[in-house]
Symmetry: C2
Subunit: 254 residues, 2 copies
């Protein structure tokens, strides 16, 4: 048993009390001054302890209000059905999923011509910095910032199509592409996680202690890569899933 520093004891004590619902999600912790008295520690030390829990994503703080215990409700995104033409949908795949969950989706949208960043160029098999069409979405669920999505199309595909025009494509881009004779027959998904960059923290309104989940989907026709979509989620609000193989046993009882 090694001696714990005082600020860790503070963090552990509060963590236990959050776990056992002494402080349920959504409620506020005692003020720094109260905790300082309780633990016989300076305010700075109490702050260090609270900061541990903020960094773990257990609580948040706001000036003038106090520390609040986070409540997290996660949204499930079925990646293997997403954009799959075998599952009929209306409009874009994202709105469909969110509405289906009884939530209200909204988004801001813009289209740009952009030189391909190296990671995108590699996946689309085009030259780095060659022109691509970037369709960018900033998405909200019930007005809470939820995710950003950037889809890059190579210029050889997008040129002269509605993909270069600002404004939505009502039937969904996957269907629109199919109607142009470019069918997405397979995709390669990459998933990783990291702490948000300052830019991401701003767009997703996440504080310290909340990682982001990055989902990079490269879509292929039978010939070559046709687009690359990078979606960045708030890690605390999202879970992804894949259904693979024969799941009749699962779906039978569900």
């Amino acid at each position: 048993m090694s001696k714990q520093p005082k600020y860790r004891l503070v963090a552990e004590a509060l963590r236990r009390e959050i776990d056992d619902l002494t402080y349920p999600p959504g409620t506020r912790l005692p003020s720094e001054n109260d905790l300082s008295t309780r633990f016989d520690a300076s305010r700075n030390t109490v702050r260090a302890g609270l900061n541990v829990l903020v960094t773990e994503g257990l609580i948040t703080s706001s000036q003038g209000l106090g520390y609040e215990v986070r409540s997290n409700e996660v949204f499930e995104l079925n990646a293997s059905r997403f954009e799959n033409l075998d599952f009929p949908q209306q409009g874009d795949a994202y709105s469909t999923d969110v509405k289906h969950a009884g939530r209200r989706p909204s988004q801001t949208f813009r289209v740009e011509m952009q030189p391909a960043p190296p990671a995108i160029a590699e996946r689309l098999r085009v030259e780095t910095a060659s022109t691509t069409v970037l369709r960018f979405c900033h998405r909200f669920v019930d007005d809470v910032p939820w995710s950003t999505q950037a889809t890059y199309y190579p210029i050889w595909l997008a040129e002269g199509t509605r993909l270069t025009e600002p404004g939505d494509i009502a039937e969904g881009t996957t269907r629109y592409l199919a109607s142009l004779g470019v069918e997405q027959v397979g995709y390669f998904d990459e998933i990783d996680t990291r702490m948000p960059t300052p830019e991401e923290a701003r767009l997703l309104e996440v504080g310290a202690g909340v990682p982001v989940l990055t989902w990079t989907r490269t879509g292929y026709s039978t010939e070559k890569p046709i687009r690359c979509t990078v979606t960045t989620f708030r890690g605390d609000l999202n879970r992804m899933n894949y259904e693979i193989g024969d799941l009749s046993a699962r779906n039978a009882k569900a």
Copy 2:
């Protein structure tokens, strides 16, 4: 332009210098005292700035040594091939993947009888706290803690089989199950991310600023769920991927 607090200016200045390779990965930053002079700030303020970068996972600190810029090399795990009987492997799927990448895998292993935790019970469709066989792995790559893996088997399946015995199953559990007449024909994968619990931080030796990636795979026979595997990765060292549909265009050129 709102005025930034001093500790953020410190963080930003150092972040820029890390980005532009003034301090390349693996090198050390100047000491707190040096930075304190440079930024005309107290040591505490410099520490606050450095802490921002630690929390973002950009740098690490160790007592007596200083602050080091992290270098990250990620390992790609192909989840859609993993455990798939169509792709021949020797031994367990994990070691195969790691060796294939030219790295050296090692692991510690144990088998326990455990009451099913609620999340597992639900996925296996057994009563909460009913008995399960837990096969637990703590995995290392080149002696760096990499991931933990806990696989739960319902007792109706595991009883009287080698699954309940400590010790490896040379041909791999997926094959062994198949030889028992229980074939895994599909699986449901769930992926999420969060900051590590203290227990996970200990096992994976991650400090602040590194999220974990959790991968929960529930395997199904044609009849019912047969096992549930929860893998917890260091988020900074791992990326998962899925190949779905027809990727002949991708694999042709790769």
